[in-house]
Symmetry: C2
Subunit: 238 residues, 2 copies
Amino acid sequence: MSGILYLIPSPIGSIKEVDYLTQSNTEILQNLKYFIVESEKTARAFLHYCGHNLDDNLNFIEYNEHNFNKINIDDWLKILKSNNSIGLISEAGTPCIADPGSEIVLRAHLNDIEVYPFAIPSSITMALMSSGLNGQKFSFHGYLDKNVNKLRQQIKILERESRLSGYSQIFMEVPYKSQKIFDLLLNTLKSDTFLCVAAELNTSEQFIKTKQIKSWKNFQVELNKKRCIFIFQNKNYF
Amino acid sequence: MSGILYLIPSPIGSIKEVDYLTQSNTEILQNLKYFIVESEKTARAFLHYCGHNLDDNLNFIEYNEHNFNKINIDDWLKILKSNNSIGLISEAGTPCIADPGSEIVLRAHLNDIEVYPFAIPSSITMALMSSGLNGQKFSFHGYLDKNVNKLRQQIKILERESRLSGYSQIFMEVPYKSQKIFDLLLNTLKSDTFLCVAAELNTSEQFIKTKQIKSWKNFQVELNKKRCIFIFQNKNYF
């Protein structure tokens, strides 16, 4: 009998945003003793906020995208195979999606360990459903190129793909770059391309708008330091 | 002052699965009088289950992916512009994602109507985070080709893309075809390609497993009539 690897999202912004855990998931979380985390300190704060009693018997294995191959995989597989469950908590957001963790999950599958995702709202899904752009076929590109010239080229290629294949093109950026990326999109995409900006989703600051580039140019928006998801598609206007 | 277009998911399986609505979303839902729905009958059953009192003053506009251009857009824009909010409810699942609705949302944006998505768990996100496959970059293809020969070719192209670009390839299928598609994947994908089957997510029947094709061939699984999300990626094994 093996334990279960639970995939546990942590809040992206304020820790007080933890209103997405169901009662049953909260109970599971409160009973876990073993955790694989990016940072023990922030994981402890999150667990405390979720009502975990944080007794002395908790065990944390720290990992991040750089040290995965250095942490002792046999250690946490042994824990799971001894019928103890483990919670995988990412630093901010959903483990494995635009965040590290997938190597751990794959290793669990390959060792016949059950994987159980907490049911949580997904900002990518919420942005896409609210965009009015194609939700039947889409590509998520994570973070785009850091080099501005390459980035501009990448955006043009993705725009062309959206025209040819109909796929919505979704990407994220770190908050301090949001305004810069938005300005670059306005100067790079075609005037008739639709761009959706979905900022600070599921918070009181939520802002979601889709406009053609030519309309965005006449619209004032302040995205500085806002957590944004960008979606664009070049398509016929009905 | 305009009303808001609320995007409201309905349960895919049994109506009793509506445990994902937050208190604030439930209150919004119970106060809505206008709805754009795929079917009035199932929308009424859903609203009843969510505690809506269903008085005589409710208004339903029926739409589906085929009649969007036939329903009178001016009618529902007039409702919104008169400071009445509208709930957009899809027949089963999340409006606009692998479901109709995006044309309505886009039309709302272009008329400066605020769009507000209910925060709901996404089966695509839950499947992907649980797969152990690439969650940094992925493509969702909706439903693949119906023609078996074209489907086989499409799967091979997507598998090659996953190898070259690293993108996880995600698609869905209608439940009665799940077993057939699974068998076809086993016979079409390369033996070292990783395939994740995520069935009946967020229900007591939940089944999530990722294996290489050669391992799936030695594993018994019964997917007949199960709601499945399939994800595959050809990648190096660590």
